[in-house]
C-alpha cells in the first residue's frame, strides 16, 4: 500500500478492469485526472492531502461497477471482432479452394484429366467418371472460391465501418490462419503421397492441387503473423502491429 489513496484506487482499477489496452489506458487517464482535480479542490478548501484524496476516492465510487461496465463493452467488441475474424478466415479458405480449382484445371489441361480425376473413387463406372471427377474438381472449387470472394468483400465492407481499437491480441488471427493452412497442406500432401503410392500418377493431382495452394497460403499467413508479433515487440504496443479486423 502506498501513502496515496488515489494511487491505491488507480492500482485497483487497473487490476480489475478487463478491457482492451486502449480502453483501460483511457479510463485510467480520466480517473486519475478526475481524482487529482477533486483532491486539489478539497486541499484548497482546507483539507489535508490524505483526507482530500480519501474523499475524492469516496465520491468517485467503488471500483467494481466501473470495471464491470468496461467489461460489458469489451465483450461486445470481442464478439464483434471474433466474428469479423471468422469471416476473414472463412473467405481466405474458400478463395484458396477456388484457386486450387484453377490449379486443377491447369493440371487437367497439361497432364490429362486422369491426373486429377483418376482417384479411384468411381472405378466402377469407368473413364467417364474420371472426367467427371476432374471437371468437378475445377467447377465446384471455383464456385467455392467465388463464395469466398463474396465473404471477403463483405468483410472489407464491414471493416471499413469499424472505428473501435483492436481487442484480439496482435497476430492471433494470422497465426490461426497459418495453423489452419499448415494443417491443410500436411493433410493434402499426405493424401497425394498416399495416392501416388497406391496407384501411381492418376488421381495424385486431386489433393496435390490443394496442397500447392495451401502451402503458399501458409507462408503468407506466417509472414503476416511474424510481422504483427515483431512489430508489437519493437513498439510495445499491441495496436501498432495489428491488422484491424
Amino acid at each position: 500500500m502506498t501513502e496515496s489513496p488515489i494511487d491505491d484506487y488507480l492500482d485497483e482499477l487497473l487490476r480489475r478492469t478487463r478491457a482492451d489496452a486502449r480502453t483501460t489506458r483511457r479510463l485510467l487517464d480520466e480517473a486519475s485526472d478526475h481524482l487529482r482535480t477533486a483532491a486539489a479542490e478539497l486541499v484548497a478548501a482546507g483539507n489535508s492531502r490524505q483526507d482530500a484524496e480519501r474523499e475524492a476516492v469516496r465520491r468517485f465510487g467503488p471500483v467494481a461497477p466501473i470495471a464491470k461496465a468496461t467489461l460489458r463493452r469489451s465483450i461486445r467488441a470481442l464478439i464483434s471482432e471474433t466474428l469479423r475474424a471468422a469471416l476473414f478466415l472463412a473467405g481466405c479458405g474458400l478463395v484458396a479452394v477456388g484457386v486450387s480449382g484453377i490449379v486443377a484445371l491447369a493440371m487437367n489441361l497439361i497432364l490429362g484429366r486422369a491426373f486429377v480425376g483418376g482417384t479411384g473413387v468411381f472405378e466402377f463406372s469407368g473413364g467417364a467418371s474420371v472426367a467427371e471427377t476432374a471437371d468437378d474438381a475445377v467447377v465446384l472449387r471455383v464456385i467455392a472460391g467465388l463464395v469466398g470472394a463474396c465473404l471477403l468483400l463483405g468483410y472489407l465492407a464491414v471493416r471499413r465501418r469499424v472505428s473501435s481499437p483492436p481487442v484480439l491480441p496482435a497476430g492471433l488471427v494470422d497465426a490461426l490462419g497459418a495453423a489452419a493452412f499448415a494443417a491443410g497442406t500436411a493433410v493434402l500432401a499426405l493424401a497425394s503421397a498416399n495416392q501416388a503410392v497406391r496407384g501411381g500418377a492418376p488421381g495424385v493431382g486431386f489433393a496435390l492441387s490443394g496442397a500447392l495452394v495451401a502451402l503458399p497460403a501458409t507462408v503468407y499467413f506466417c509472414i503476416r503473423a511474424a510481422r504483427a508479433l515483431l512489430t508489437v515487440g519493437e513498439s510495445g504496443s499491441a495496436d501498432s502491429g495489428q491488422v484491424r479486423l
Partner: protein
C-alpha cells in the same frame, strides 16, 4: 434521488449537460451537481464508462485538449446525439406528465 432511478437515466443526464457545450468528465459531474442543486448523488466514476458507451454509439465525440499543461479528454454532443437527446427528453417529459396525472 434513488441511485437506481438515476442509473437508468444517466445517458439522458449526460447528454443534457453536454447540450450546453463541450465539457470534460470532472466539469460534467460539477455541472450535474450544480444543476440538480446537489440532488443527484451519483458515483462520479460511473460517468466514464457511460461516456465511452455514448461515444461508441456516435451520440458524443471526444477530443484531447491541453489546458494549463494538462491533457484532458473533452466530450461534445454530436448532431445525432442532439436528436437522440430531444427524443429521450420528450419521452421523459411524457412519462413525468403521466406519473403526475396519476399520483397528484
Amino acid at each position: 434521488m434513488a441511485s437506481g432511478s438515476l442509473k437508468s437515466n444517466v445517458d439522458l443526464l449526460l447528454m443534457g449537460v453536454l447540450r450546453h457545450g463541450p465539457a470534460h468528465g470532472y466539469a460534467i459531474i460539477a455541472s450535474l451537481r450544480e444543476r440538480s442543486d446537489g440532488g443527484f448523488e451519483l458515483a462520479e466514476g460511473t460517468i466514464y464508462p457511460a461516456l465511452h458507451r455514448l461515444e461508441q454509439a456516435g451520440l458524443v465525440e471526444s477530443s484531447l485538449q491541453t489546458a494549463q499543461g494538462r491533457r484532458r479528454r473533452t466530450y461534445a454532443l454530436t448532431a445525432r446525439g442532439r436528436k437522440e437527446f430531444s427524443a429521450q427528453r420528450r419521452e421523459w417529459q411524457g412519462f413525468v406528465a403521466s406519473m403526475e396525472a396519476v399520483i397528484a
